[in-house]
């Protein structure tokens, strides 16, 4: 974590606490980095893309995914149980009438297992403070212009759940197989800051 904020005062404090814990033998040297790497290992937006493509081609899977995402992603071999406790996953589906976008205003909660480490902008104060207040303007900054008739719902990950957006399937993709469809899905599409 501190690798991206080496100069921040909090990074110095973290290093100091880490050193104290190591001196007392409560932590092995490098243990925290190993734990972080293990938590992030295997997480990739490709997982979210594969789940999305399956939902596009299989209406039954789509229904199960929206009703109980933790169980449904197990059908594809994915799990939200990589951390200290299994995280609850909620998948929200975009439609012609409603567009969803995900944020964590209090910190940076994110479905790492399905999307990999979060992008820097997702953790930025600018995104976190603005998107709950003026999502349409923020989406415009991302190049997404939604019809005025499309309702926007912002999901703030304020407790234990993690969220993933199920994007709309693009037009004229009837001829594509599941693998090709997965290739169309972007990380931003799974957060809701892009359409696919």
């Amino acid at each position: 974590m501190s690798a991206t904020h080496d100069d921040a005062p909090v990074a110095a404090r973290v290093r100091h606490v880490e050193a104290l814990l190591e001196q007392r033998g409560w932590l092995a040297p490098g243990e925290i980095d190993e734990r972080i790497d293990a938590f992030a290992a295997g997480g990739s937006p490709a997982h979210g893309a594969a789940i999305t493509a399956r939902a596009w081609v299989d209406p039954g899977f789509r229904a199960r995914l929206l009703a109980d995402a933790n169980t449904a992603i197990g059908e594809l071999g994915y799990s939200m149980a990589g951390g200290l406790q299994e995280q609850q996953l909620t998948v929200v589906a975009n439609s012609e009438d409603e567009h969803h976008v995900v944020v964590c205003t209090l910190c940076s909660c994110y479905p790492i297992a399905l999307l990999g480490p979060s992008p820097g902008w997702y953790r930025s104060e600018a995104y976190r403070s603005r998107v709950v207040r003026e999502p349409r303007a923020v989406l415009r900054d991302f190049g997404v212009e939604l019809p005025a008739t499309t309702r926007i719902t912002v999901w703030d990950a304020s407790a234990e759940s993690r969220y993933m957006v199920l994007p709309r399937r693009p037009d004229a993709t009837e001829g594509l197989d599941e693998t090709a469809l997965a290739g169309l899905v972007t990380r931003k599409g799974l957060i809701g800051t892009a359409v696919v």
Partner: protein, 95 residues
């Protein structure tokens, strides 16, 4: 203990500004919203952060109109809130 709320219930969030960690964001204090889903049972983050024992209790997805949070905006915000943060408003469920 039975869950205090169910989807469709109108609720108001607590207005207090606690002197400790909490997961009720400042922008959503004292706001009216509607329970739209349940999100399991979890120990209260406010208590865990202070090293206190905390029994799991119901957590809900609560939908707020932007205008009720910020005085403007035509979107909605869904927050995930422990039942401790919520009070019933006594209003009828909106059609």
């Amino acid at each position: 203990m039975a869950d205090r709320f169910a989807p469709g219930d109108r609720v108001r969030t607590r207005i207090a500004d606690p002197p400790h960690h909490t997961r009720l964001p400042r922008y959503a204090r004292g706001a009216h919203g509607e329970v739209v889903g349940t999100a399991g049972h979890h120990p209260l983050a406010d208590e865990r952060a202070r090293g206190l024992a905390s029994a799991p209790r119901a957590v809900y997805h609560v939908r707020f109109r932007a205008a009720d949070l910020f005085g403007e905006g035509d979107h909605a915000v869904v927050l995930e809130l422990w039942e401790d943060y919520l009070e019933p408003t006594g209003e009828e469920t909106r059609p």
